[in-house]
Symmetry: C2
Subunit: 191 residues, 2 copies
């Protein structure tokens, strides 16, 4: 951030009176531009004994598999965002069953909110941001080709709960950085 979005003057990093951390403050109109974490909302779409994954057509992690999820938009609820992302990425219609996980990724200022959801039909196909969309049984999950550590953490929790026959809420923090893209995710570090 270099310029004030309100008046166009230059901003600088300074700690406002009464605050305890530097913010971008306009040198002209004195507007304080706060920056806050963003929510990634998505779901685990279930169909019989399978879940739906999307193979990413975009960076980061082009070519790797993930759950349908994306940035929550203004004006929607977290569950509405999860339904919308699933429609956009997989052309799939889901009914949200309940919340499943909240994972913090403080390194990149993101909070993941993932729901369990039921696919309403199997008429799905890749959206603009997906190369492929596919149902996987547990034994078929491409563990070494998952796009993000949060997905590597959440899917095992899902299968544990499935075996227990009771779904809990799960929380966690992803601390570690993934290895560079050229490892193709096969040696992903976990936190």
């Amino acid at each position: 951030m270099r310029y004030c979005s309100s008046c166009g003057a230059s901003v600088s990093l300074q700690t406002p009176p009464g605050d305890d951390r530097p913010r971008f403050v306009c040198g002209d109109c004195a507007t304080i531009h706060y920056q806050n974490p963003r929510i990634i909302t998505g779901c685990i779409p279930e169909w019989e004994d399978s879940v739906l994954l999307c193979r990413r057509a975009i960076e980061p992690r082009h070519g790797l598999w993930t759950l349908p999820a994306g940035f929550m938009e203004n004006g929607e609820t977290t569950a509405e965002g999860a339904v919308r992302e699933t429609l956009e990425e997989a052309n799939a219609r889901v009914e949200v069953l309940g919340p499943f996980a909240v994972f913090d990724i403080p390194r990149i200022n993101q909070v993941y909110l993932l729901f369990r959801a039921r696919l309403l039909d199997t008429d799905f196909s890749p959206g603009a941001e997906s190369l492929e969309v596919q149902l996987f049984r547990e034994a078929e999950i491409p563990w070494s080709e998952l796009a993000f550590p949060v997905i590597e953490r959440v899917l095992p929790l899902y299968y544990e709960d499935l075996r227990l026959g009771a779904f809990a809420w799960h929380t966690g923090v992803i601390r570690q950085r993934r290895l560079p893209d050229n490892t193709n995710g096969a040696d992903a570090s976990k936190s």
Copy 2:
């Protein structure tokens, strides 16, 4: 938003190619400025059979009671933010016990994340944004003077779970607008 925070040129609302909603787009450098919901993180601080509430010294809802909570900051986890806000607003130290509620407020692009927490001592006092900080037993809660609908929804859920002896995760959506400030919150609408 009127100016691009990257280059200082004027922005206009337009729907970028491949997008489905208007964004602020720079007419010069073409940067798309996304705007997303923000997270309010906070807690229900427990001490024996009481919870700690703060009477607000700031608008909105000056003079009304709320749980310690505030905007999550970059670089922290949701639980760290809840601990920080409790320290800032009530000079109180807490240990987070677990997640309790996720409430969407799409009208104002906020998502509340509230934890249960245990006060570590009773050496608390009003922070800069509080007029008073006080422990309340259930029968003493100032129901007609609570600052926000989300607090009116969450505290009864907390007491229900307390009676059941088991704490669940709760989710909800706050749809309705509060009555104007001059009602002093006594006739708050609930969704």
